[in-house]
C-alpha cells in the first residue's frame, strides 16, 4: 500500500513538474503614452474628473479603451500594449475632434492634441469678505456659430487641489450654481461678466476653488478656470 502511494506521488510530481513549462512569449503591457491636451487659445485645457478622455482604439482589436485626462490637461498611461492605435480626445468641453490620429505607441511615446474650447474663462479673480467668497470672471468663445447652449455657471469648492465636477463640496458648489440656459450669441457684454458668491465658508479652513461653465453638448461638459487656493481666516 505504501509503495502504491509513493508511486502515485512520484507520478504526480512528474506530471506537475512537466506541466506549465511553456513560457509566455508575448510582451507585457510595457508601452506608454503621454502628452498634453493643448487649448488653441493657449496653455493646456483645464479639465476635471469624468470629463475629457483620450480614446484609444487598438488597430485589429474591437473594444476601445480610454485614458482620463488629469486636471491640468495632461494624460499618461504606462501600461499599454505596443501597437498602432487610433487616438482621439473626447468627452470635454471643446469642439468635437473628428480626425482620429494613428499613433504607434511604444515605450515613452509622446503626443499632444490641440483642441478648441467652447468657452474660455478670462480675468478670473477671487475676493474674500468675512466668510463669503466672491468670484468674478469673463467668458469668451473662440467660435460662436453653432456653440451649444450654456446651461449654467457655478463655483467648485473642495478641500484638495483636485477640484471640479464630481470632486467638490455640494453645499458650496452645486447649490451656488447660476442657471443661464441661453445661447452665447444672445448674451450681452454685461452678462458675459459673471459674478458668483460662495457664502458661509468655514473659518480657519483652506479651500481650493475654481469656476466652471456648463454647456448642453453631448456630454453636458464644462469649461473650467484655473484653480486657486483660498484661506479663510479664523
Amino acid at each position: 500500500m505504501k509503495k502504491l502511494i509513493s508511486r502515485i506521488l512520484v507520478g504526480i510530481i512528474i506530471l506537475a513538474s512537466s506541466a506549465c513549462t511553456k513560457t509566455d512569449n508575448y510582451d507585457g503591457p510595457n508601452a506608454s503614452f503621454q502628452g498634453n491636451i493643448v487649448s488653441s487659445e493657449g496653455g493646456n485645457l483645464p479639465t476635471s474628473g469624468g470629463s475629457t478622455t483620450i480614446k484609444l482604439q487598438q488597430i485589429g482589436w474591437t473594444t476601445p479603451q480610454t485614458i482620463p485626462s488629469k486636471f491640468d490637461g495632461t494624460f499618461q498611461d504606462t501600461k499599454l500594449f505596443k501597437s498602432a492605435y487610433k487616438v482621439v480626445p473626447t468627452g470635454g468641453a471643446f469642439w468635437p475632434v473628428y480626425d482620429t490620429v494613428t499613433v504607434n505607441i511604444d515605450k515613452g511615446t509622446k503626443h499632444d492634441f490641440v483642441v478648441t474650447p467652447y468657452i474660455v474663462i478670462k480675468n478670473f479673480t477671487t475676493s474674500l469678505t468675512g466668510t463669503t467668497l466672491t468670484i468674478k470672471f469673463d467668458i469668451t468663445a473662440p467660435v460662436i456659430a453653432g456653440l451649444p447652449t450654456i446651461k449654467d455657471v457655478q463655483p467648485y469648492v473642495n478641500t484638495t487641489r483636485l477640484v471640479g465636477t464630481g470632486a467638490s463640496i455640494r453645499d458650496f458648489s452645486d447649490l451656488n450654481a447660476v442657471t443661464i440656459n441661453r445661447e452665447f450669441i444672445d448674451l450681452t457684454d454685461a452678462q458675459k461678466s459673471i459674478t458668483l458668491t460662495v457664502p458661509n465658508l468655514i473659518p480657519g479652513r483652506t479651500f481650493f476653488v475654481r469656476a466652471g461653465v456648463r454647456l448642453s453638448d453631448s456630454f453636458n461638459s464644462s469649461n473650467f478656470s484655473e484653480i486657486v487656493q483660498v484661506d479663510i481666516p479664523k
Binding site: T62, T63, T90, P96, S218, F219, N220
Partner: protein, 605 residues
C-alpha cells in the same frame, strides 16, 4: 468433454453476435424531440411557445434594469426597479445605475421564433391551415416583442428572420446592423401580420390580435419620438452618421399616425376597469382582480411552478409583512404631480393636523390608490410614519427645513423603542436613516399590493398577482399622445378625460402636450414606463441633471398634541444624473468580439 462444451458455447456466441450485429441502426432517438413531435400537435407547439413567452422582455415585477429579465424561483428583490432612479421613487440604487443596461442580446430566443415560423407551414396538414395561421400570427407578435426590446435599447440591430445555419461561412453569420428606422419598420410590419393573423381572443397570458395592435401603438410612439426629439437632442458619432441610431425628423408624423391608428383598433373591444363605484377601491382592484376588461396582455405567476414574485413582501415594510424588507419609496416630487399637498398655511407655517390620516382628505382617489400615505391602513395596521418629535414648533416650514440639522430643535431616534416623555419618537414604518428598509420619503407603494392577504402569508416568492403588461389605460394614453403630436387636440382631450374620470379626477376643459405627458406619469406610475418615456422624449438628461428628490416628513409636535408635515430632501439625499449617451445603450462588448460587423458602436461607447 469439457473443451467441447466450451467450443460449442464459443461458436454459438460468435454466430449469434454476427447475425445480430450488422443491422443498420436506423431508429428514431427516444431521448430528443424531433420536429414532428413538436409541430404536429397544438400541445407540442404550445410547449415550445411556453419557453418563448417566458423569455419575452416583459419588464415585470422581477425585471432588474441593471441585470435583466428574471425567471428563477428566488428573484425576490423587486425594489430594484427603474422607478427608483427616475424620481418616481428613491430606492436601492446609489444613482443612475441603470443607464448602461445589462447587455440584453436575445438572439437565442429570436432563433426559437424564427424556427417556429420556418417549421409551422410544413405541418399544415396535421394542424389545419387556420391553426397554422393563428400560430404564425402569434409568432410574428413575439418576434416583434423581442425586437422592440432590442430597438429601444440599441437603435438599429441586425434583423434576422430565418434560423441561421451554424455551418454557414462566418461572413454570412456575422450580420451587419440594420438602420434604426429599418428596425422599427420591421417591428411595425411584424405587428401588422400579428394583427391580421391572430384571433380576437386568447387564453390569459397569450396574445391575441389586439395585443399586437396595442404593442404597435407603444412601439410606433417610441419610434416617432426618436424621430422628433432624437433629431434635436443627440450625441454625435459614426453610428449616428450611418443611421444605425436616429431617424430623420420628417418621418415622425408617419410614426405618430401609425401609433394613433393602432391604438384606435382597440376601440370598442376593451374598456377601462370600472366595476366598483368607490373610486379608490376601484383603482386598487384594477391591478388585482382577474377578468378585467382593461387587461390586454398579462404575465402570470405561480407558487407551484416556482415563478411567484415578491411584490407584496418588498413594497411594504416588515411591520406589515411576514418576512423581508422594503426598499423603494415614492417621492414627494412624484406626489406633487397631483398638485401641492395642503401642508402649509398661507403665512408659511406648517398646518397642524389632529391625526396624520387627515392629510388624505380631498386627494384624488387614483393618488391614494397608487401611494400609501401616512395614516393609511393595510392588513389592519396603520402606516405609522413619524420622523421625530418637536417638543414645540414655531416659525415657518421653509425656515425650519433650511436650518442645518444640528440647529433644529427636533428629537430623532435610532430605533422605534426610543421614547420621549412616554411617546414613541419614530414611527413603526419610518422614516428612518439607520437603513433603507423603512421609508426615506414618508410614502410607500400601494399599486399592485394585495391587501387581501393575511400578514402571515406575505412572504418572499409568494405573490401571484399577474403583471398587466398591456392595459387599455396605456393604450388610451398612447392614443392621446399621438393625437396631440399630430395636432388632433379633440381626440387627445377625450382620451385623457376617460382616464381622468375613472381616476376620480376633474376632467380637463382643454389639453396640451404637457398635460398628456403628466397624465401618463400619474396613470402609469411604477409600471416601468416612465424611464422609457424620459428616454424617448429625450428629456432624461434635463430632468435627471444632478437631481435630488424630496420626501414628506411627518412630525409630532408635543406641546400641541398635533402633527405637522415638512417637505425635506429624502433621507439619503442621493444624486441622479443621466448622461446623454444613455439614450442608447452600447452594443455588448462580447457580441462585438464575436461579430465585429456590429461596429461602429453607439456614440460615445
Amino acid at each position: 468433454m469439457k473443451s467441447i462444451h466450451k467450443f460449442i458455447i464459443a461458436i454459438s456466441i460468435g454466430v449469434g453476435a454476427s447475425l445480430t450485429s450488422c443491422q443498420k441502426l436506423d431508429i428514431l432517438p427516444t431521448n430528443i424531440f424531433t420536429p414532428d413531435i413538436i409541430y404536429d400537435s397544438e400541445a407540442g407547439v404550445k410547449s415550445f411557445l411556453a419557453t418563448i413567452y417566458q423569455n419575452l422582455p416583459i419588464e415585470d415585477f422581477k425585471y432588474r434594469p441593471d441585470q435583466g429579465f428574471k425567471t428563477g424561483g428566488n428573484d425576490w428583490e423587486n425594489f430594484y426597479n427603474s422607478a427608483s432612479v427616475t424620481g418616481e421613487e428613491v430606492g436601492p440604487f446609489g444613482g443612475m445605475d441603470i443607464g448602461g443596461g445589462f447587455g440584453y442580446w436575445p438572439y437565442g430566443d429570436i432563433r426559437n421564433v424564427n424556427t417556429l415560423i420556418d417549421e409551422l407551414p410544413k405541418h399544415a396538414a396535421k394542424l389545419s391551415q387556420s391553426t397554422v395561421n393563428a400560430l404564425l400570427g402569434e409568432a410574428h407578435f413575439l418576434r416583434a416583442y423581442y425586437y422592440f426590446g432590442l430597438a429601444k435599447r440599441y437603435g438599429g440591430v441586425p434583423i434576422i428572420t430565418v434560423p441561421q445555419d451554424p455551418a454557414a461561412p462566418l461572413s454570412e453569420l456575422q450580420v451587419h446592423r440594420d438602420k434604426e428606422q429599418a428596425t422599427w419598420d420591421f417591428i411595425g410590419s411584424e405587428l401588422d401580420l400579428g394583427y391580421q393573423m391572430m384571433p380576437e381572443t386568447s387564453d390569459a397570458g397569450r396574445a391575441n390580435r389586439y395585443a399586437a395592435a396595442a404593442l404597435k401603438s407603444r412601439a410606433m410612439l417610441y419610434a416617432a419620438c426618436v424621430a422628433r426629439y432624437g433629431s434635436v437632442n443627440f450625441v454625435e458619432g459614426p453610428a449616428r452618421a450611418q443611421g444605425l441610431v436616429g431617424i430623420p425628423a420628417d418621418k415622425a408624423t408617419a410614426y405618430f399616425q401609425a401609433a394613433y391608428d393602432a391604438a384606435k383598433l382597440l376601440d370598442g373591444h376593451y374598456s377601462l376597469y370600472n366595476a366598483n363605484s368607490d373610486k379608490v377601491q376601484n383603482y386598487v382592484d384594477l391591478f388585482l382582480k382577474s377578468g378585467s376588461p382593461e387587461n390586454i396582455f398579462i404575465k402570470q405567476y405561480s407558487v407551484a411552478t416556482h415563478t411567484a414574485h415578491s411584490w407584496d413582501a418588498t413594497m411594504s415594510p416588515r411591520y406589515m409583512t411576514a418576512n423581508a424588507l422594503s426598499r423603494s419609496y415614492p417621492t414627494l416630487d412624484f406626489v406633487r404631480l397631483w398638485g401641492e399637498l395642503p401642508v402649509t398655511n398661507g403665512d408659511g407655517t406648517p398646518k397642524r393636523f389632529d391625526n396624520r390620516a387627515q392629510l388624505m382628505q380631498g386627494l384624488e382617489p387614483r393618488l391614494l390608490a397608487t401611494v400609501y400615505f401616512p395614516g393609511a391602513t393595510l392588513r389592519g395596521l396603520m402606516f405609522d410614519m413619524q420622523r421625530g418629535i418637536y417638543p414645540s414648533f414655531s416659525g415657518t416650514a421653509a425656515a425650519e427645513v433650511a436650518k442645518p440639522a444640528n440647529s433644529r430643535s427636533y428629537i430623532l431616534a435610532g430605533d422605534t423603542k426610543t421614547l420621549y416623555q412616554g411617546k414613541q419618537v419614530i414611527g413603526f414604518t419610518g422614516p428612518w436613516t439607520g437603513g433603507d428598509e423603512l421609508t426615506r420619503t414618508g410614502f410607500y407603494v400601494r399599486k399592485y399590493v394585495d391587501y387581501n392577504k393575511p400578514q402571515s402569508a406575505v412572504d418572499l416568492n409568494r405573490s401571484e398577482q399577474p403583471w398587466i403588461d398591456l392595459r387599455y389605460g396605456e393604450i388610451l394614453l398612447n392614443r392621446a399622445e399621438a393625437a396631440m403630436e399630430l395636432g388632433n387636440t379633440g381626440d387627445a382631450l377625450t382620451s385623457v378625460n376617460l382616464i381622468r374620470s375613472r381616476a376620480g379626477a376633474t376632467p380637463y376643459a382643454s389639453i396640451d402636450l404637457n398635460k398628456v405627458r403628466n397624465e401618463r406619469r400619474m396613470e402609469l406610475a411604477f409600471e416601468n414606463q416612465y424611464y422609457w418615456d424620459l428616454k424617448r422624449w429625450r428629456t432624461a438628461d434635463v430632468v435627471l441633471d444632478r437631481a435630488h428628490f424630496k420626501g414628506l416628513m411627518p412630525y409630532y409636535v408635543f406641546n400641541e398634541n398635533k402633527y405637522i408635515f415638512l417637505a425635506e430632501t429624502e433621507l439619503f439625499n442621493r444624486e441622479y444624473s443621466f448622461q446623454k449617451q444613455f439614450y442608447y445603450e452600447g452594443i455588448p462588448g462580447g457580441e462585438i468580439g464575436k461579430n465585429p460587423n456590429l461596429l461602429p458602436n453607439n456614440p460615445n461607447y
